[in-house]
Each structure stands twice: as structure tokens, then as C-alpha cells.
């Protein structure tokens, strides 16, 4: 092979490689890699039922029922809702309407939790501003 041909082969390989990597990369990001599953994912059969997994969603208003360390509440993504049973200490942020990520397994349509983590969003503001925003939305 001449030098020129060599270079052509190299360029062709490079173009092929870059486009292949780009294609695979795009496909990879289009598929979802989940740290936690939403209730809708669970209903759609995307979560590993029978094994411990993480469920993420919002705590439903007026669904929290406490008895000492025992807590029952519901988690929703505003489409599907699951009841959750947990025994243990809850994080400070846990309250109705808050985002949570729960580790546990699904038994008879109830989620038996071994760990409850609270997820907060990226917004920071004083309570007065939050109230004002809330009122404006209503």
C-alpha cells in the first residue's frame, strides 16, 4: 500500500469509528438507566419484582399514618400510586408532598420498605417566597 492509500484507510476507519461511537452513544442515552423506578415504571413491569429495588415519587397528601416507628403512606407519580409500609426513622425532610426514594420490595401490591430517603429539588428560597409562589400558582 502506498502512503496515500494508507492515509485514506486511516481516515475511513476514523470516520466509521466516530459515527459508530456516536450512534451507540445516542442509543445508550435514549434508553433510560434508572437509579429508581416510578410507580408507572413498576406498573409497566420495568422494575424487578421479587427483588429489592428503589421506588421514587411524591408522598400523597393526607396519606401518612404513624404509630411510633411504624409508618404507612402512599407514593405517587400522579398517574399510579403504591401504598408503602416502613418501620424506622424517617429523614428530616420527609413530609407530605415531598419527593422520596424508597428501597424495598413489592409484596401483594404493597411496598415493604427497608430504607426511605428524601429527595429535594434544586430550588433554594426563604419560606415566605415559597408561600408567595404557592399562592400565585393557586
Amino acid at each position: 500500500m502506498t502512503k496515500r492509500q494508507n492515509r485514506m484507510v486511516l481516515v475511513a476507519l476514523l470516520v466509521a469509528g466516530v459515527s459508530l461511537a456516536g450512534y451507540f452513544g445516542l442509543r445508550a442515552f435514549n434508553e433510560n438507566l434508572l437509579y429508581f423506578f416510578s410507580p408507572t415504571d413498576v406498573v409497566a413491569g420495568k422494575a424487578p419484582i421479587g427483588k429489592s429495588f428503589r421506588l421514587g415519587g411524591m408522598v400523597v397528601k393526607d396519606s401518612v399514618w404513624r404509630n411510633n416507628l411504624k409508618v404507612n403512606f402512599q407514593v405517587t407519580d400522579y398517574v399510579n400510586t403504591f401504598g408503602v409500609k416502613y418501620e424506622g426513622i424517617l429523614p428530616d425532610l420527609f413530609k407530605e408532598g415531598q419527593g422520596v426514594i424508597i428501597t424495598g420490595s413489592l409484596i401483594d401490591k404493597t411496598f415493604i420498605a427497608t430504607q426511605v430517603l428524601a429527595k429535594h429539588d434544586e430550588n433554594y428560597m426563604p419560606p415566605e417566597v415559597a408561600d408567595a409562589l404557592k399562592r400565585a400558582n393557586e
Binding site: L13, A21, F24, G25, A28, E31, L33, A47, P48
Partner: protein, 221 residues
């Protein structure tokens, strides 16, 4: 291309004449994996959940151990220096050596993995995906590892150093590969993980021979 096959054949021939260098990483692989049932629990339900992770971690370590000598002999007898100053393309020569390394460690690991999967009570679905992820990513392990091997070629007692350099770069492969297997055991979608592994493979095929050749030139200065 000719020089590629010549180098590949040469490396394979050397390895065949010196069989322990092939067998050691494999024995390490089998022995280390069989420690886990003894240490953790022989119970099938526990082992089948962590089987993919164990086999993947030990594969990485086995590849790492064998990488230590990837350039070592050639360095000691001066062949490596000849390669660097020869008129042949150094990345191509490195690619040939890495291919030989993969044939000698990657392929045997892939062949042994179903057996070890059975040891750890991995179901047939899990074993299939385990083989698939190993096929897709052991070449990446050899390619990325070659960078580390060429950076440390002149340093004595560099085994620990090589793991420090290379293991952080292996972490994404470990995450995607083992999550693919454990997801597959529950009949879940795993195409995202496989695409990530494929991306890593293509990118490392394209870049690592050049980075390794730069690193070799630096080490041999």
C-alpha cells in the same frame, strides 16, 4: 497490515512456549471466584444475586495482573525500543500486542465464565448476558489497560501502581456490565447498558493505541 499479523503471531508464539504466563491469570480467576461462596455464604439465593459482580470484578483483576507483563519482556530485552524507533506505525504494533493479550486472557475468561456462573448459581439467562458483556468489554479492558502498562513500563514493582491507575478507568465498564447481567436476571430491558459498553469499546479501539504509543515513547525516553 502485515506487521500487525506478524506481531500478533510472534506474541502468541512466545506465550505458547511459556505456558505459565497464560495459565496464571486464569488460575487466579478461578481460585478467587471460588473464595466468595466460602467467605460470604454458599446459599444459592444470595450468590446468584452477586454472581455477575463477583465474576466481573475478578475478571478485571485477572486482566490487570496479566497486563503487568504486557510490555515487560520486550522492554527487558530491548525489543520494545526497536519497536518505538522502527518505521512501522507504533499504534498498530501496540494494537497487535493488545489483540494477543485479549486472545490469551480475554477469550479464556469468557470460556471459563459460564462454568463459574454455574458455581455461583447464575441462571441461564444471566449466564448468556454475562458472556455477552464479557465479549463486548474484555477487549476494552485490554485496550485501556495497555495505556497503564505503557506508562509504568520502566518502573520496578509496579503491580500496585498499575491497579491504582487503571481501576478508576474500569469503573464505568464494571457498573454497566454487572447491572446488565443483574437486570437480565429479572427479565428487564438492558439495551442501555449494552449500548454504553459498545460505545466504550469503539472509543477505546480508536483512541487507546495512540495514547499508549505516546505513553510508551515517554516512558522510554
Amino acid at each position: 497490515m502485515n506487521i500487525y499479523t506478524q506481531t500478533l503471531k510472534r506474541d502468541l508464539r512466545i506465550a505458547i512456549r511459556n505456558r505459565t504466563s497464560i495459565l496464571n491469570p486464569l488460575s487466579f480467576f478461578v481460585i478467587s471466584v471460588s473464595l466468595f461462596p466460602l467467605a460470604i455464604s454458599p446459599e444459592a439465593s444470595i450468590l446468584s444475586q452477586i454472581a455477575a459482580g463477583i465474576i466481573w470484578v475478578i475478571s478485571m483483576l485477572a486482566v490487570l495482573l496479566s497486563l503487568n507483563v504486557l510490555f515487560h519482556h520486550d522492554f527487558e530485552n530491548g525489543v520494545l525500543e526497536q519497536m518505538v524507533i522502527s518505521h512501522h506505525s507504533l499504534p498498530l504494533l501496540i494494537l497487535a500486542k493488545v489483540s494477543a493479550h485479549w486472545i490469551l486472557t480475554g477469550i479464556p475468561i469468557i470460556i471459563l465464565s459460564p462454568l463459574l456462573g454455574l458455581f455461583l448459581f447464575l441462571d441461564s439467562e444471566g449466564i448468556q448476558i454475562l458472556i455477552l458483556t464479557l465479549l463486548l468489554s474484555t477487549p476494552s479492558l485490554s485496550l485501556i489497560g495497555a495505556i497503564g502498562a505503557s506508562l509504568i513500563v520502566g518502573i520496578k514493582n509496579s503491580g500496585m501502581l498499575l491497579s491504582l491507575l487503571i481501576l478508576p478507568l474500569y469503573i464505568p465498564i464494571l457498573i454497566f456490565a454487572s447491572s446488565a447481567v443483574s437486570q437480565a436476571q429479572f427479565g428487564l430491558e438492558i439495551s442501555a447498558q449494552l449500548y454504553f459498553l459498545a460505545t466504550i469499546l469503539v472509543v477505546s479501539l480508536m483512541t487507546t493505541p495512540f495514547i499508549s504509543s505516546l505513553a510508551l515513547k515517554i516512558s522510554l525516553e
